[in-house]
């Protein structure tokens, strides 16, 4: 896990009060999308608007990764013609977007959630099933840097 120095200190010094899991939203089909409904446990910690914005951006990024269009067809055809050996040297479009998502989650944690005593876990570490939000106890807020 690539945590910043301040997040690590947060984890070591703080005690975890609880964890909240935001589930997948399958209403739009099988694409990777998380529910944007604001969990009640976070009401005292973070602004509803801010949270929904984070989740919406995350959903948009996953939609970009899974987009079926000209570019993905081209990638598929090229790969098929080389018997998929091209993936030994090239990164797939999905992997590129996943890296983007990892950077986004890290940035959100550093800027917004760590100062509030929260930690978002990148969904890929939970098999793209849930967004895990760790809630640290209040006493940790002062010591986080």
């Amino acid at each position: 896990m690539a945590e910043t120095h301040s997040l690590q200190e947060l984890q070591q010094q703080a005690a975890v009060a609880s964890k909240v899991y935001v589930q997948r939203d399958y209403n739009s089909g099988k694409i990777c999308k998380f529910q944007t409904k604001f969990p009640s446990e976070l009401e005292s910690r973070v602004d509803k608007q801010q949270f929904e914005e984070t989740m919406q951006t995350l959903n948009n990024l996953y939609a970009e990764a899974e987009k079926i269009g000209g570019k993905s067809y081209l990638e598929g055809c090229l790969a098929c013609m080389t018997a998929y050996t091209i993936f030994l040297c090239m990164e797939t479009h999905y992997e590129k977007v996943l890296k983007k998502i990892a950077r986004f989650v890290k940035e959100q944690n550093e800027k917004i959630y760590a100062p509030l005593g929260l930690l978002l876990t990148d969904p890929i570490e939970r098999g793209l099933r849930v967004v895990e939000i760790t809630i640290f106890e209040d006493r940790s807020i002062g010591s986080g840097r």
């Binding site: 899991y21 089909g29 079926i68 055809c77 790969a79 797939t92 098999g127």
Partner: protein
């Protein structure tokens, strides 16, 4: 007193639950039984070798040198697709960590309310609506998750696989979301290769017989007889399989759904995943994005081997290995200490960052019954498959 802690770095694949075997330090992932896969390899390589040895020299001279060249290209494509199908992660879903499992159990309890003792609890099902159709998500007792749509648990590999098609012993792996297109291309190219070899065997025998006579031809090239036999039987099965999967792809169905009759049309239930257009369905299945593996097989994690003497070792915390290792861990004599010795959630989360594990690699052993007590205070509802009775009994014991 304190235990002596030895920390070593291990790759995550060494700690993954499930009955897979890993090779090349986690790069290759297969099922346990590989015997039939070796047979497949032997048949393909053997038949092609005979073809290159007996037919190709004659045909290259008397017909065209393009024949062996095309055969070689086709052979390499078939092998590449076979190895890609066999060695890649089919789309295995990682199991829920203990906190997540607890969270889901609490949600289920809240939904179901209080069930009087002795009564069967309602089945764990979550309803979602996809494209206007109600789809039921089932709960997997082994993986402790609600399976995403189209996912299914493979009992041979002991994993939940996304868009599970079937477990294929011929390729020695499950066929799921990530490797379905390679599997299809493998069957398609193998059909072409079989037809190709069969046709040119016949052509070769006919051409030689015209010159030398039929019996002498067979004596000169004994390999031909063998090839024709193998190709004849392979043809019917592989071509039939390719046809079947072409049909499934055009309808955007999986073998699993077809066998269960999920979208057979009774009760006006229709396939919500189909685009109602054959071209769109084929494009989605064969040319869709290349999904990455969500199993981090080659990531590093710390494995703390504790040579234990104390009972309060906070080792039963949220590591990627679920409760199954508890029953098989020989190093911790106090594994069955009562729940008050087990850590609180706080310890669990902090230790999670360091990913401790109580025992060395035990997961490759046949997984013992999953009804071992969970490390948290939730009543152990981890019954294999859907044994509601066992869960009631377990609930009563824990309360």
């Amino acid at each position: 007193m304190s235990a002596v802690m030895m920390t070593r770095k291990v790759r995550k694949w060494e700690k993954l639950p499930g009955k897979n075997t890993f090779c090349c330090d986690g790069r290759v992932m297969m099922a346990r039984q590989k015997g039939v896969f070796y047979l497949t390899l032997f048949l393909i390589v053997g038949t092609c070798s005979l073809f290159f040895a007996f037919e190709c020299p004659y045909l290259a001279i008397h017909l065209s040198p393009a024949i062996p060249v095309f055969a070689i290209l086709l052979f390499f494509f078939v092998m590449a697709m076979l190895l890609r199908t066999s060695f890649s992660d089919p789309g295995v879903l990682p199991r829920a960590l203990p906190e997540e499992a607890t969270f889901i159990e609490m949600e289920i309890e809240a939904t179901n309310g209080n069930v009087p003792a002795g009564q069967r609890p309602p089945p764990r099902i979550r309803n979602v609506q996809i494209n206007g159709q109600i789809v039921k998500l089932k709960y997997c007792y082994t993986c402790k998750i609600f399976r995403p749509p189209r996912a299914s648990h493979c009992s041979i590999c002991d994993n939940c696989v996304d868009r599970f098609d079937h477990h294929c012993p011929w390729v020695g792996n499950c066929v799921g979301k990530r490797n379905y297109r390679y599997f299809y291309l493998f069957t398609l190219s193998l059909s072409l290769l079989t037809i190709y070899i069969f046709t040119f065997n016949i052509v070769h025998v006919v051409m030689r017989s015209v010159n030398s006579g039929f019996v002498k031809t067979l004596q000169d090239t004994p390999g031909t007889v063998l090839e024709v036999l193998v190709c004849f039987f392979t043809l019917w099965s592989v071509v039939g399989l390719t046809g079947f999967h072409t049909y499934l792809i055009s309808l955007n169905q999986t073998t699993n759904e077809d066998i269960k009759g999920s979208w057979s049309g009774k009760n006006r239930v229709q396939n919500p995943y189909s685009h109602k257009n054959i071209i769109n369905n084929c494009c989605e299945v064969l040319c869709g994005p290349a999904y990455p593996s969500v199993l981090d097989r080659r990531g590093l994690m710390r494995d703390d081997l504790s040579v234990p003497t104390s009972a309060a070792e906070p080792a039963t915390n949220s590591n990627p290995v679920p409760q199954t290792t508890k029953t098989t861990a020989p190093l911790i004599p106090n594994e069955h200490t009562p729940d008050d010795a087990k850590p609180s959630m706080a310890d669990a989360a902090i230790a999670h960052a360091e990913k401790r594990s109580p025992s060395p690699r035990e997961d490759k052993l046949p997984t013992l019954p999953k009804s071992s007590p969970t490390p948290t205070k939730v009543p152990p509802l981890a019954s294999p498959e859907t044994d509601a009775e066992a869960s009631i009994i377990a609930k009563d014991k824990a309360l």
